[in-house]
């Protein structure tokens, strides 16, 4: 074979890197702007001004870490953090447990599956304002659950979580779970549907009971689904605000205060932006602390093609 192997003289130029796929870059511009200007920029702005003594309007009168010092010396902030901790842990655990249990129940090839699914999911369509209001009412001791049960003859029955500083957070939890578990159930259900049929068969041949199979085999297999769910729950927990405002207003006293509410109230009611920004910076820090392991699990572990 005679091959004219002299390379053609016209050696094509490597095109400009920036212009390559310029249309994709152009189309991503809204995202880039959002990411940089709104999220990164807004966050940086917030952090920056948390070091100022801004009151009603942002000002650059630097005060160093004063705002943080005050923040951590404020009872209300400490209470808020504690409340969020209790609510967060309970909500995280219970949402996952209930969400998964319901999904598992629905996955057992039951009748009326879609009816049950809709029932569990519909609260998610309602706003927290509505949720808070309704549950505030149902939990009202004078005409809610307590009075009904008493009406049935159980006179000493007491169920008044919202007016007891020690239990109010669980009152919030009842409402929060009511609204939030549906979506998690949906995600879990989707995850369960993705599990290889053969695993179930293998477990049956091995003589492993249904519950044990779920616990020992299926749940460990659903790790990515649980991570997704966890992230969703965590993000909603950190943002917890509307529900508290609608259901308890932070009361009785300060017993159901949460950090997001602290931020808002100090920014707008106390007109102490610096303090509000300091609090929100602390919240951001906690977000980052949660996110880093997640990002590591999601993106660090495996590379997508």
């Amino acid at each position: 074979m005679t091959v004219p192997s002299d390379p053609p003289a016209t050696t094509a130029k490597r095109p400009n890197r920036l212009l390559k796929n310029w249309m994709a870059k152009l189309a991503s511009l809204p995202m880039i702007l959002t990411a940089l200007v709104v999220f990164a920029g807004g966050t940086a702005w917030t952090v920056t001004y948390s070091f100022t003594g801004s009151r009603m309007l942002p000002r650059t009168n630097w005060v160093g870490f004063d705002q943080y010092e005050r923040l951590w010396n404020t009872d209300r902030w400490i209470i808020s953090i504690k409340n969020l901790g209790i609510y967060g842990v309970c909500s995280m655990v219970l949402t996952l447990v209930i969400g998964f249990t319901l999904a598992a129940c629905l996955d057992r090839k039951i009748r009326f599956e879609s009816a049950f699914r809709s029932i569990f999911l519909y609260p998610f369509a309602l706003s927290f304002v509505v949720t808070g209001l309704v549950w505030q009412w149902i939990l009202n001791p004078d005409f809610g659950l307590q009075s009904i049960v008493r009406g049935w003859g159980w006179e000493s029955f007491t169920f008044n979580p919202l007016n007891d500083p020690n239990t109010v957070i669980y009152g919030l939890l009842i409402a929060g779970l009511w609204q939030g578990t549906g979506l998690i159930m949906c995600i879990m259900l989707a995850g369960l549907r993705g599990i290889d049929e053969d695993i179930w068969k293998a477990a049956r041949v091995d003589g492993i009971g249904t519950v044990k199979t779920y616990v020992m085999v299926i749940i460990p297999m659903m790790r990515p689904v649980f991570i997704t769910a966890l992230v969703l729950i965590a993000s909603s927990i950190i943002k917890l605000y509307d529900l508290v405002v609608a259901q308890t207003g932070g009361g009785p006293g300060l017993s159901s205060e949460v950090p997001a509410k602290y931020v808002i109230e100090y920014m707008f009611r106390a007109q102490n932006l610096g303090q509000g920004f300091a609090a929100s910076t602390m919240m951001l820090c906690s977000v980052v602390i949660i996110l880093i392991p997640w990002a590591y699990l999601e993106f660090g572990g495996k590379k997508r093609g």
Partner: protein, 301 residues
């Protein structure tokens, strides 16, 4: 040999008899029904209460069915309830909500789907970084962003207009929606994209002619999430618009929070139900599609 089996041929035959009331089944359906009651209770209370008159409500029992069904609370919530000096209930906000909802959904989903598409098929240097920032953005409590956004909107001159609000919804819907679309488009075989490139299709042609028609399930999820989010939004609606364009939730808040002596629970409940109607209908209607879409877009993540 064969006689062994012939002897036992009298044994079980055909399908295994199933007990309808096996312990497992009782437990399963029992759990589901009890839990369903927990989920349905508030809805029941809302509906029942909204159909009662005030005297009946004062008598106490929230769970009792109305002795006398009245639709007055609904009428009042829709068209008569007062906030300040305006007494036109939710009706005014409904139109506003729709006017806000539609462009917000269109814009946010359009942008997020393009983002997801670009992120999965047209990766460029830094695209993942922007995406990561975006995802972290999903965790920022909205309230802390109020001020910066006010300033940004002021700078681009959209403060107070519906378009400003649409923009805000687009921005805050972007992280989750982009994630959904990105995961979905990533799950579409890469070969399809390559084939289209070989066929000479460009960025937009591939998006519109190849990707978009395949993305129905994830669009359903995106629409549902956005309808819920935008329709139920109060904070942005009240801050970034003005009274003439306040969405329904602002009216709801006004009705619910304007206490005039005793709380008119029946009107509140009716108002609440009316406000929640749009997302509720969408949820009950979408049913299976939602789970399927979630499976396609969220779980694979």
């Amino acid at each position: 040999m064969a006689d062994i089996s012939t002897n036992s041929a009298a044994g079980p035959r055909g399908p295994k008899p199933k007990k309808t009331f096996s312990r497992g089944n009782i437990f399963l359906y029992g759990t589901l029904i009890v839990v369903s009651m927990y989920y349905l209770l508030p809805l029941y209370v809302m509906i029942v209460t909204s159909l009662k008159g005030m005297p009946e409500i004062r008598m106490g029992n929230v769970f009792g069915p109305p002795m006398e069904i009245t639709f007055e609370p609904w009428v009042k919530a829709w068209s008569e309830a007062c906030t300040g000096i305006n007494c036109d209930g939710l009706s005014r906000g409904f139109g506003n909500s729709v006017r806000i909802l539609i462009p917000s959904i269109l814009l946010s989903i359009a942008i997020a789907s393009i983002n997801g598409y670009a992120l999965s098929n047209w990766k460029f240097k830094g695209s993942e970084t922007f995406f990561t920032i975006l995802i972290i953005g999903a965790f920022i409590p909205y309230q802390t962003m109020l001020y910066p956004i006010v300033i940004m909107l002021r700078e681009i001159g959209l403060m107070g207009s519906i378009w400003g609000l649409v923009l805000v919804h687009t921005v805050f819907g972007m992280p989750i929606l982009t994630l959904l679309f990105r995961n979905y488009f990533t799950s579409i075989p890469e070969e399809l994209f390559k084939a289209a490139r070989v066929d000479g299709a460009g960025f937009w042609q591939i998006y519109f002619q190849i990707m978009l028609p395949m993305a129905l399930p994830i669009f359903v999820v995106a629409i549902i999430l956005q309808v819920t989010g935008i329709w139920n939004d109060f904070l942005f609606g009240v801050i970034y618009t003005k009274p003439a364009t306040y969405p329904m939730t602002v009216q709801l808040n006004n009705i619910v929070n304007s206490v005039q002596g005793v709380k008119e629970y029946n009107v509140n409940m009716a108002a609440t139900l009316l406000t929640g109607l749009v997302p509720l209908i969408i949820y009950f209607a979408s049913g299976k599609l939602f789970v399927r879409g979630i499976a396609a877009g969220a779980v694979k993540g």
